[in-house]
């Protein structure tokens, strides 16, 4: 099966730096996954109506505020934090 993706492009989008071995491994694994989906697409299934994935407004939540985690719990999830905020390497979008 021809690869339906460009592993280098995907790695770049995912901010991953991959070795040649990893690229080969992940390409093969991704192909397997896509192969499964292709198999699913081939299956002879009864047609689902368009309404199958449609809900009405009863499925909406009411505008009631609920509990929060608190900043201590939020920052514990991250590798680094400071003053209740999550600390990350500097991301630049200001004038430079």
């Amino acid at each position: 099966m021809a690869e339906g993706f460009d592993i280098d492009h995907l790695a770049k989008l995912a901010r991953l730096s991959l070795t040649a071995e990893e690229k080969a491994l992940y390409s093969s694994q991704l192909n397997q996954i896509l192969g499964h989906f292709e198999a699913l697409a081939q299956a002879d299934l009864p047609a689902l109506s368009d309404d199958a994935r449609v809900v009405d407004e009863a499925a909406l939540r009411s505008d009631e505020p609920g509990p929060v985690l608190g900043s201590a719990a939020v920052t514990r999830l991250a590798p680094a934090s400071r003053d209740g905020q999550i600390s990350v390497p500097r991301v630049v979008d200001d004038e430079s």
Binding site: S62, V68, V74, I86, S87, V88, V91
Partner: protein
């Protein structure tokens, strides 16, 4: 300078992001609000932690539909959400939930009014088309500190309606007028507060130029994240001038994303995030397509307030208001409704009421000693103001005295008639008594010269007789009546 040289035409399209007026976030129950400690308004759904599922907030959907109805858009039978995938620390899930193919609002238009030649003159009106509006989640806030950046996710998941215009705007003045009109319509309908100080309205501004008379659009730039109307205006002026300069120097315009430095009043190229536009959208598998019932649309239609320019036209055509007063009243729905209650109590003189509301009432509300007073907590009520105008119209007090009574009413909340009586301001309209006084004054040799002048044709000479009459009545004589009586006896 707000207009480009005449052979270039600027074409502007805006993407306006408005935080909707809700208590909880759009896909999670976490509360949100301005000015909280960082990361205190975050729950597992906001962070997209394993095992959590987003559920759409009904209020956010209804506020979006209400916006659509306000701008005369069509509300589709269905809308759905998509994942916009990108890696950036403002985004805890690595995707933003948004609506790509089936937004909640399609079409619509916003009427705008351009500035007139002066404050008293109404400017040109235009309609700006809305392409669509989609309901998405806001992202977290980054601040830069030294070698690192800090992330606060309080804003992540706040309901955000992105309103996308057609490229219908043709000047910085039109962009400014559009935003003012849009904000008035949104706030008057209670869809959102649009408090720009709190970042509740942010704008992306697409600008291109072309030779006037040509059809083909030029290459556009997008300046992102403008957080005030003045920044949008300045960006348009700056980008227009820059693009004209580039093209006239024989260079070309690069399609690029730009930032805006409001302090330095200049734009800059944003460092290109490589492949930033490859967002790999796909339908969100966790949120089913939503069917919007026509009953809901009908119910929300009843909440759409009168369009501000329809109201302005009605005030001018039906109530006979001058444009200046009408334009002040219609910008604030609460003020306009207050005015209408007063008119209902005294329908004979809408202009007199409008004058007091647009000038005296607004001035005193803004200038109260402690802090600006809101219309709701204001002591003076619409029917009381109507009572004051009625007393003036009936000649019981003069217009000058009405101002004085108004000030007293504003601070005490008492009825005009009670203040007029307590201060003894009631004008004397007793014809019999006044006739006697007028005749006595006319008989006084001191005014003989003025009488002679008046009889010789000098109209103004009659005024010299009014002073002594006012003096003898302690200023309480009805000036209209005095004038009539003097002319009768001297005629």
């Amino acid at each position: 300078m707000s207009t480009p040289p005449s052979d270039w035409e600027v074409v502007i399209g805006l993407e306006v992001h408005v935080q909707l007026h809700t208590r909880a976030k759009v896909f999670a129950s976490s509360p949100w609000g301005f000015g909280q400690e960082p990361n205190e308004q975050v729950d597992p759904v906001v962070l997209g932690l394993p095992g959590t599922l987003p559920v759409v907030n009904r209020e956010a959907v209804e506020k979006s539909i209400l916006f659509g109805l306000v701008v005369g858009a069509s509300v589709p039978e269905h809308c759905s959400w998509d994942r916009k995938n990108y890696f950036y620390p403002d985004n805890p899930k690595n995707y933003q939930l948004t609506q790509k193919d089936f937004p909640v609002v399609v079409g619509g238009q916003v009427e705008i009014e351009l500035p007139g030649a002066s404050r008293n003159v109404m400017g040109e009106h235009k309609f700006i088309r809305i392409h669509h509006a989609h309901l998405e989640e806001d992202v977290g806030k980054l601040s830069h500190a030294g070698s690192g950046s800090l992330v606060d996710y309080n804003r992540a998941g706040v309901p955000l309606l992105e309103i996308v215009t057609e490229p219908d705007l043709r000047s910085s003045a039109e962009a400014e007028a559009f935003l003012r009109s849009l904000v008035a319509m949104i706030t008057q309908a209670g869809v959102a507060d649009c408090d720009m100080e709190k970042g509740q309205l942010r704008c992306d501004c697409n600008v291109s130029i072309r030779r006037r008379g040509t059809e083909k659009l030029g290459t556009r730039t997008e300046t992102k994240n403008l957080n005030s109307i003045s920044s949008v205006r300045d960006t348009v002026i700056y980008e227009t001038a820059r693009q004209i300069r580039e093209l006239e120097a024989g260079r070309s315009i690069t399609q690029e994303t730009r930032g805006w430095n409001a302090e330095l009043v200049r734009g800059y190229v944003l460092r290109d995030k490589e492949d930033a536009h490859d967002y790999r959208y796909f339908p969100d598998p966790d949120i089913p397509t939503l069917k919007i019932s026509r009953e809901t649309v009908t119910r929300l239609s009843a909440l759409v307030p009168e369009n501000l320019y329809d109201r302005q036209r009605r005030y001018i055509a039906n109530l006979g208001l001058p444009y200046t007063a009408a334009s002040v009243l219609v910008n604030d729905r609460a003020l306009a409704e207050w005015f209408e209650l007063a008119v209902a109590a005294h329908p004979a003189n809408p202009s007199g009421i409008a004058n007091l509301v647009a000038n005296d009432l607004l001035r005193d509300l803004a200038a109260s000693a402690t802090a600006p007073v809101s219309l709701e907590s204001c002591l003076i009520k619409p029917a009381q103001l109507a009572g004051l105008v009625k007393l003036t119209d009936e000649g019981v007090i003069s217009k000058q005295q009405a101002k004085e009574v108004f000030t007293e009413m504003f601070t005490s909340g008492r009825d005009a008639a009670a203040i007029v009586d307590a201060k003894g301001l009631r004008q004397n309209s007793d014809t019999g008594e006044l006739e006697k006084i007028v005749q006595e004054v006319i008989a006084d040799p001191a005014v003989a010269k003025s009488i002679a002048e008046y009889r010789a044709g000098n109209e103004k000479a009659i005024n010299a007789l009014k002073g002594p009459i006012m003096k003898r009545t302690q200023g309480k004589a009805n000036p209209v009546l005095i004038d009539q009586l003097l002319r009768k006896f001297l005629g």
